[in-house]
């Protein structure tokens, strides 16, 4: 316990442990957990009988739905992400660079857009519906998505890219000496995959899955479009349908516990496997794929791309064309796009800066205290967007009313929501920052600031760029907090998509979704650029 609170003690007791870095990190994390405190405060108002009521009436179903969804989506994303990453990093084949892009482009499409597109594609007059009728001759048997399988499909397609990115980095870094040793010992390729590659990949898969599972637990868009009762949807319904904040807070509390348990487990397993991720220096050229392999690879990658990007983009283009010919695209669209970009740019920049002390402090200390701060900073990811929004409104209005009304409330909420992304990628980048590196800088006569500027920052720049891009992308797609906190009359692309889609104005929802994809492309370009130039920082 003494260790856990050490930054706090250090803060209060300057003589002994004071570090301004620790203080700064503590400050950031304190701000980040404001919504959590709001939830705790509200759930404390629940009487034991109310808890019992919640427990018996809805918790079992919600737990079952949420957990099975997390497991199924994990399986889906690992299948898609690891298989594609393996082929792309282990074989040289025509169009390999393009393939990498195709695997990350689905990140530009939000889950609620996926959900919306696939439900309309599967209607009787949708493309897939027509195809189904052509093949089976039966309109009644068209599968619908309003169940766990539909949600799994949508969330896997929207999330597998995270697993792909991390698995690819890890695969292209580990050398093939271990594989070759296994092959020499007579292991078949499949055995090599199961017994050598997979164990080596485990940390990367775990990290990718952590992102995917947290997205599943906090997803609001897809589950609300597909009406699948998970914690997030149920919390939202308690709040908006019954105006019951306390029940919502109680459910949020359970969700937070669930997510934190998961995070701690993930950290624990990753740590135990650190040995495997040790880097080896000898890199060998990638083997050329045989023509048969090339065909198989493209068949598989083409299939994934078709589902995760091709069909959605084709849908968006065709409805956008419709909108264009009807003259529905006007200057408002530019305003929505601009609004989205404005929030995303501000939030990403602030999140990266705010995450810096937390990650840096942990890199320096590696103590239980710094780890705890790091974990606590992930709270934004595990709380549902609507809950964060409500917490922010209440706290701002009670304590800092002058901040309410403009963009500040929205930016704060989004920064809190996506701070974990920034912290995690900077923390990973700083892992390579051993004390000796800094000592060298010091010994060469650099002061602390110069050291930070000339030694530390250049080394973590790649990680910071990744952090910025990840926060930017997620903010651009953010829906639930934006719906509640946007300034009056300030509509962003996701808000418009949500409004038009719920009115079934597809020709207006599609161009907004397309704009979202286009808007994300430049930053993806940057991320991929910084990845190749500074590969090691993005583990």
């Amino acid at each position: 316990m003494a260790v856990i609170t050490s930054p706090l003690i250090g803060y209060l007791n300057p003589g002994k442990h004071f570090t301004s870095l620790g203080g700064l990190a503590t400050l950031v994390v304190t701000l980040a957990i404001i919504p959590l405190l709001f939830v705790i405060y509200n759930s404390l108002q629940l009487s034991p009988t109310q808890w019992l009521g919640l427990w018996s009436s809805r918790l079992p179903e919600l737990l079952q739905n949420t957990l099975s969804l997390a497991v199924l989506v994990s399986i889906g994303s690992v299948t898609l992400g690891v298989s594609s990453a393996w082929w792309i990093s282990r074989r040289e084949f025509p169009g390999r660079k393009l393939a990498v892009w195709l695997m990350i482009l689905p990140l530009t499409i939000p889950t609620y857009v996926f959900a919306h597109i696939y439900t309309s594609l599967l209607e009787e007059d949708g493309w897939l519906g027509k195809l189904w009728i052509m093949l089976t001759g039966n309109a009644d048997s068209i599968p619908d998505l309003y169940n766990i399988w539909g949600v799994t499909l949508v969330l896997s397609l929207a999330g597998f890219s995270y697993v792909f990115l991390l698995a690819r980095t890890s695969l292209s870094q580990s050398t093939r000496t271990l594989e070759e040793a296994a092959r020499i010992q007579g292991a078949s390729p499949i055995e090599v995959f199961w017994r050598v590659n997979l164990p080596l990949l485990r940390p990367a898969i775990a990290a990718g899955l952590a992102v995917v599972v947290l997205h599943v637990l906090s997803d609001f868009g897809a589950v609300s479009m597909l009406q699948f009762q998970t914690f997030t949807l149920s919390i939202y319904l308690q709040m908006s349908g019954r105006f019951d904040y306390q029940a919502a807070a109680g459910l949020s509390m359970v969700l937070v516990m669930l997510s934190l348990t998961f995070l701690v487990l993930e950290r624990f397993f990753r740590k135990r496997q650190q040995y495997y991720s040790a880097r080896q220096s000898r890199q060998q050229p990638v083997r050329k794929a045989t023509p048969f392999e090339t065909a198989m690879i493209w068949l598989w990658l083409g299939f994934i791309t078709l589902l995760a990007f091709g069909l959605p983009i084709a849908w968006m283009l065709s409805w956008s064309w419709e909108a264009w010919t009807q003259g529905l695209i006007n200057s408002d669209f530019w305003t929505y796009t601009g609004n989205s970009l404005l929030v995303a740019c501000i939030a990403a920049s602030i999140a990266v800066l705010a995450a810096l002390p937390v990650a840096f402090y942990n890199a320096r200390r590696r103590s239980l205290g710094s780890q705890t701060l790091l974990q606590l900073s992930s709270v934004g990811f595990v709380l549902p967007g609507p809950v964060i929004a409500l917490g922010i409104i209440s706290v701002l209005l009670a304590q800092l009313p002058f901040l309410y009304g403009g963009l500040a409330a929205l930016v704060i909420a989004v920064v809190i929501r996506f701070l974990p992304l920034a912290v995690q990628s900077q923390d990973a980048a700083m892992a390579q920052l051993t004390p000796s590196v800094e000592e060298v800088g010091r010994s060469l006569g650099a002061g602390p600031l110069e050291n930070l500027w000339r030694v530390v920052l250049p080394m973590v720049r790649g990680g910071m760029a990744t952090a910025w891009v990840l926060v930017f992308i997620d903010t651009l797609k953010e829906l639930p907090a934006t719906l509640i906190l946007r300034p009056t009359g300030f509509d962003t692309l996701p808000v418009r998509i949500w409004i038009e889609a719920s009115e079934e104005m597809l020709e207006l929802a599609a161009p907004a979704a397309l704009m979202l994809v286009i808007g994300t492309l430049p930053v993806l370009w940057i991320m991929m650029g910084s990845k190749t130039s500074n590969n090691s920082s993005a583990t």
Partner: protein, 338 residues
């Protein structure tokens, strides 16, 4: 890194955003928190602005979420008016004391049953909860009650929305108030068995399914039927007004309405907007564009729609839709309706 120059393309839309935002805050505008579809509101509002020169900002979202926002914001709210498509939500806001009392002379043209007793909100258009029936099916020529929807012979043939839908909840509240909790509970159980886990997330999809013959009967707001018929005039569907006859409870009605925020600083402009919306012209535009019933006395609905007064309407004051909303949700959850 060269790639950063691609960020420059962001400047164009960003400029738009900044210009637009500063422009909208520079002028005094009325702000409406609107829970109704933009496409129905925008034309009327544009007409209002044209006539009076008063600018209006529409802040659209879900009625219930916006009401939450209004409540939490308290005196800090930007909203001058609150527009919702459910009387239950309006009444809830009224119970929380979020709205101003409107002048009796202002709202007098609207039928007293379609506004709050204390005039804190006023109905602008009314919708009837009716049945859509496939004309080729066995249910085409019957006098139906909504309680027939629990009939086991409708298994797999019934279309209803998921039970978070505001219109659905309001409908169930009316039935609960008319026939009591016990019968309503039995009814919900029967419907649950009939839909077998498959409910719709949109009323329009129910109408479509009935037109295709995939479902025989659906429970919807009346205007969805006419919206479908406008696009597909030959669709084999028709409207059935349920629970008529001497002992029938009548059709459930609900209204979309508007309220003036207690904390508005532009009361007179807000009242002008309300006055416009209940004027003959405003009513025609607001209600007719969606084939709803105008709430102003003496104005008829669209010719396609069964005239108000030609059939029996359940006698449950709109206020009760708000007062009993949570009981209804309890009932729905007790049954475990999807």
């Amino acid at each position: 890194m060269k790639a950063y120059k691609y960020l420059l393309i962001y400047l164009i839309p960003l400029l738009f955003s900044i210009i637009q935002t500063t422009a909208s805050f520079a002028s005094e505008s009325l702000v409406i928190y609107s829970g109704r579809s933009d496409k129905f509101v925008k034309p009327v509002i544009a007409e209002f602005t044209r006539q009076t020169g008063i600018k209006v900002i529409l802040h659209t979202g879900k009625s219930t979420a916006l009401l939450n926002k209004l409540k939490v914001e308290g005196s800090r709210t930007d909203a001058d008016l609150f527009l919702s498509n459910d009387a239950g939500t309006l009444q809830r806001g009224s119970d929380w004391g979020l709205f101003q009392t409107m002048n009796e002379t202002l709202v007098a043209p609207v039928k007293a049953t379609l506004r709050a007793p204390d005039n804190t909100w006023v109905g602008l258009s009314a919708r009837a909860r009716v049945l859509v029936v496939n004309t080729n099916g066995p249910w085409a020529n019957k006098n139906l009650s909504v309680f027939d929807l629990a009939d086991p012979s409708l298994k797999g043939k019934l279309g209803i929305t998921n039970s978070t839908n505001g219109s659905y909840i309001a409908g169930v509240t009316v039935y609960m108030e008319s026939v009591g909790k016990k019968k309503t509970l039995q009814w919900l159980k029967g419907m649950k068995a009939n839909v077998d886990g498959h409910v719709f997330n949109k009323h329009s999809k129910i109408v479509k399914a009935v037109a295709k013959g995939k479902k025989q009967v659906g429970l919807v707001n009346h205007y969805y039927i006419y919206r479908h018929l406008a696009k597909h005039p030959d669709a084999p569907i028709k409207i059935v007004l349920p629970d008529q006859g001497k002992n029938g409870m009548g059709v459930a009605w609900n209204v979309a309405g508007i309220a003036i925020s207690k904390h508005t600083k532009q009361s007179s402009a807000a009242e002008k907007l309300v006055a416009f919306l209940i004027s003959e012209k405003g009513q025609k535009q607001f209600a007719e564009v969606n084939r709803e019933y105008p709430t102003r006395e003496g104005i008829a609905a669209h010719a396609d729609v069964p005239p108000a007064g030609s059939y029996k309407v359940a006698y449950v004051p709109m206020v009760e839709l708000g007062e009993h909303r949570n009981e209804t949700i309890d009932l729905i959850e007790q049954v475990g309706m999807p």
